[in-house]
């Protein structure tokens, strides 16, 4: 028998001992096995539910996938087709409009609501809850509710217009390509304004009171106080909210699907609804083409995230 204290066995034992024992340098640091023990569940969930689907989508985009068990390799064919697809470009245009305009509406609405509460309007405690409630509603509820609100015959919007003598302005808000996308953007802003309001309100309360008091001492009017003092100081918060909303709207799906399914004549089609349609609504079982659209859009969204990150870092360097 060989000496147990020498050779490979001893080296292995020493390695295991070093892993299992607490590190000598810093007793507060957990050993690798301990770290792995705690990380493993989260890593497994991440790998199974995020990493694998993403990688599988990349992989599928190079195949005709009628069945996961049998696929046909088509190379870059789907990607070439995506860039020639008119419906895809209509979806890109709508998503771009939504992503750029929607967040402005969200943030401005949230800021105005927050200013109302900050100024101490009557019933502010009730209003704070009421304005935040839409955030808690699911898209299904919001979508169905707003389809009723926009209904041509009995909807509240047209009802109000008729009541004030503006019957000629009443529209099939979701049935007309000129208004459908705008109507959806308004609905989305209504849902999320409460969230932006809470964030803006918190930021308003954290503003240095000396600056605001100094503005008042200088007889600064409310408009100038808002535009020259409050908004500049809130700017980083507002910008963050805008970017968060922008990224979210690049993937907008639920509300569109519930309210218009991308119609009429693709006027509200977004990239997400188009991917879903191609994957599950058309009479085809090919997952390859929708995967290619999803991959293209994934890189577009990642590109914007990187762009905003770089932009923020530069601003931070400039400010500090």
């Amino acid at each position: 028998m060989s000496d147990p204290s020498s050779g490979a066995a001893a080296a292995l034992r020493r390695t295991l001992a070093s892993w299992l024992s607490a590190p000598e340098a810093d007793s507060r640091r957990a050993s690798l096995p301990t770290v792995m023990l705690f990380l493993a569940p989260a890593l497994l969930v991440y790998a199974a539910l995020t990493a694998y689907p993403v990688l599988r989508t990349f992989y599928n985009s190079f195949f005709n996938v009628a069945d996961l068990a049998s696929s046909e390799f088509v190379g870059w064919t789907h990607y070439a087709e995506v860039f020639k697809d008119k419906t895809f470009w209509a979806a890109v245009r709508n998503t771009a409009i939504w992503s750029v305009i929607g967040p402005v509406l969200d943030v401005v609405a949230g800021l105005l609501l927050a200013l109302c509460l900050y100024a101490g309007v009557p019933f502010s405690r009730f209003l704070r809850v009421a304005w935040f409630t839409p955030v808690l509603l699911s898209y299904v509820v919001v979508g169905i509710m707003w389809v009723w609100i926009y209904n041509y015959d009995w909807g509240v919007v047209n009802g109000l217009l008729r009541a004030v003598g503006l019957q000629a302005w009443s529209q099939a808000w979701l049935g007309d390509p000129r208004f459908a996308l705008g109507s959806l953007i308004v609905t989305h802003a209504w849902k999320w304004a409460g969230f932006n309001m809470v964030v803006c309100l918190a930021a308003l309360h954290s503003l240095p009171s000396e600056v605001l008091e100094a503005a008042e001492l200088d007889n600064c009017g409310w408009w100038h106080k808002l535009t020259d003092v409050i908004v500049p100081m809130l700017w980083p918060t507002l910008l963050n909210l805008y970017i968060l909303a922008f990224i979210g709207k690049m993937k907008v799906f639920d509300l569109v699907w519930i309210m218009t399914e991308g119609g009429p004549v693709w006027s509200t089609e977004t990239v997400s609804t188009y991917v879903y349609k191609r994957a599950f609504n058309w009479n085809t079982f090919d997952l390859g083409y929708p995967s290619a659209i999803a991959v293209v859009w994934f890189f577009v969204v990642v590109g914007f995230v990187v762009f905003f990150n770089v932009l923020f870092r530069r601003r931070e360097r400039m400010e500090y």
Binding site: L68, D153, G175, T260, F280, F285
Partner: protein, 443 residues
């Protein structure tokens, strides 16, 4: 009785070996016993059906399943009713991974399931002689039949007799108006503040095109109409343009409700028979599935004066007697089902003339299963008689546009002819050009 003969040697070792062999044989026999007849193992089928909110159809299927379970104790059925859109989404996802239910509900526009190998041919499971030939054709792929065509329907033009009287119009004896008569009726209806037709496309890709498609069928005749739907005849054909131009005139005159784009199919029923009320309802004969239930459950009022007329014949119509007949909700078997024997028996139990009659009697709707109309009795017999009268002498075209169109072509049909054209959002030429471009591109 000695199960194993004694060894002549009778030694201790041999005896031990014999005991061991006997024990093994006994154990093997015991293990084998419960599994001897394969079908003695109870099987539980999963069956997904549409029609969760259509009481008569739901009751019919539930009753048939109960009878099947009573007659076939080794087979249990886990029956679930799911809305069509959700059902389609679920099965389209689950067939790819082997997780689909043993039996599920489809319509023939989803024949792609069979083409992709997800459906089991039913030729050896059900008696095909019990199915109507046209219904079998709707589900035939490569010479095999892939579904049990439970529901069939014709595209009808329902109307409210009371409102018709109110606007001072009397339908002609043959119940088919001319182009001019129909135009006049629509104008009178609009002038009286009554929406001429109740149509909602908020959750369906086809009802907005029912009126146009029936006009096109009558204008072109069955052969050219089929060519149109299969991309062999362009939508820019002068006869098609003529028909679309007339329908566009009706659209511009206010034929469809302004809320059509977001109104759901179920809401359009209510719009027609209850509030605000419409003169006509161009819809398939499965109207009864939702309408012939109690008013508190969304059905038509008890005293509702439901009438049926033929679609108008345009001037110069090639086939004024033509009419669409189509297979609707059908039951298919999943190709990877582990319970094919029970699933086959379940489908076979549905495909009988007796059940065809029961379906017509209780649901008041056509079926792809053969029937014996002479035996049918029902409290709705007058309605059924009228439905038969409207179909008398008809020359049927089998299938609706979405049974022929798929991919980009089908999507354009849903967006343009189903929604934008009846909504007055696109011109005749634009609609025709979009259809041609999409259907030509789709091949």
């Amino acid at each position: 009785m000695t199960p194993f003969p004694r060894s002549p040697a009778g030694s201790g070792r041999a005896a031990a070996r014999r005991s061991a062999a006997a024990a093994i044989a006994l154990a093997a026999a015991l293990l084998a016993l419960p599994g001897t007849p394969a079908m003695a193992q109870p099987q539980t089928l999963t069956m997904w059906s549409h029609w969760p909110d259509e009481a008569s159809k739901r009751s019919f299927i539930e009753e048939r399943v109960k009878q099947f379970e009573a007659a076939t104790p080794q087979c249990k059925v886990n029956l679930q009713f799911v809305q069509k859109a959700d059902l389609y989404t679920s099965v389209k996802t689950s067939v790819r991974t082997g997780q689909a239910p043993d039996i599920f509900w489809l319509e023939p526009d989803e024949i792609a399931f069979a083409k992709s190998g997800y459906l089991e041919p039913l030729d050896k499971y059900i008696d095909l002689a019990n199915l109507e030939d046209w219904a079998k054709r709707a589900w035939t792929w490569n010479g095999k039949v892939y579904a049990m065509p439970q529901e069939a329907y014709s595209v009808e033009l329902y109307y409210n007799r009371d409102l018709m009287k109110k606007i001072g119009v009397t339908p002609p004896a043959g119940m088919q108006m001319t182009q001019a008569q129909f135009t006049e009726m629509v104008k009178r209806s609009v002038a009286a503040g009554i929406t001429p037709t109740a149509t909602g496309v908020g959750d369906r890709p086809y009802p907005g095109a029912y009126f146009l498609q029936e006009i096109l069928l009558r204008k072109l005749g069955t052969e050219d109409y089929e060519k149109l739907l299969t991309g062999k005849l362009p939508f820019q054909d002068p006869r098609v343009i003529e028909a679309m131009t007339w329908v566009k005139q009706l659209v511009d005159a206010g034929m469809f409700p302004r809320s059509m784009a977001t109104m759901k199919l179920g809401e359009s029923h209510y719009y027609f028979h209850t509030n605000p009320g419409a003169l006509m309802f161009p819809i398939a004969s499965w109207y009864t599935g939702r309408a012939f239930v109690a008013p508190e459950k969304g059905g038509q009022p008890k005293d509702f004066a439901l009438g049926l007329m033929k679609y108008p014949a345009m001037d110069g119509s090639k086939c004024p007697e033509c009419k669409t007949l189509a297979v609707g909700g059908s039951y298919v078997m999943y190709a990877r089902s582990k319970n094919k024997e029970c699933a086959g028996k379940m489908l076979s139990s549905l495909a009988t003339v007796e059940n065809g009659n029961k379906w017509m009697e209780s649901v008041l709707l056509q079926t792809g299963v053969r029937t014996d109309p002479s035996r049918i009795t029902s409290i709705y017999a007058p309605y059924f008689k009228e439905l038969q009268e409207r179909g008398a002498g008809a020359r049927y075209f089998i299938g609706t546009p979405l049974h022929y169109m798929s991919g980009k072509c089908g999507d354009t049909f849903a967006q343009v002819l189903n929604r934008a054209f009846p909504g007055g959002l696109v011109s005749v030429n634009d609609a025709a050009a979009q259809m041609d471009a999409a259907c030509k591109a789709a091949g």
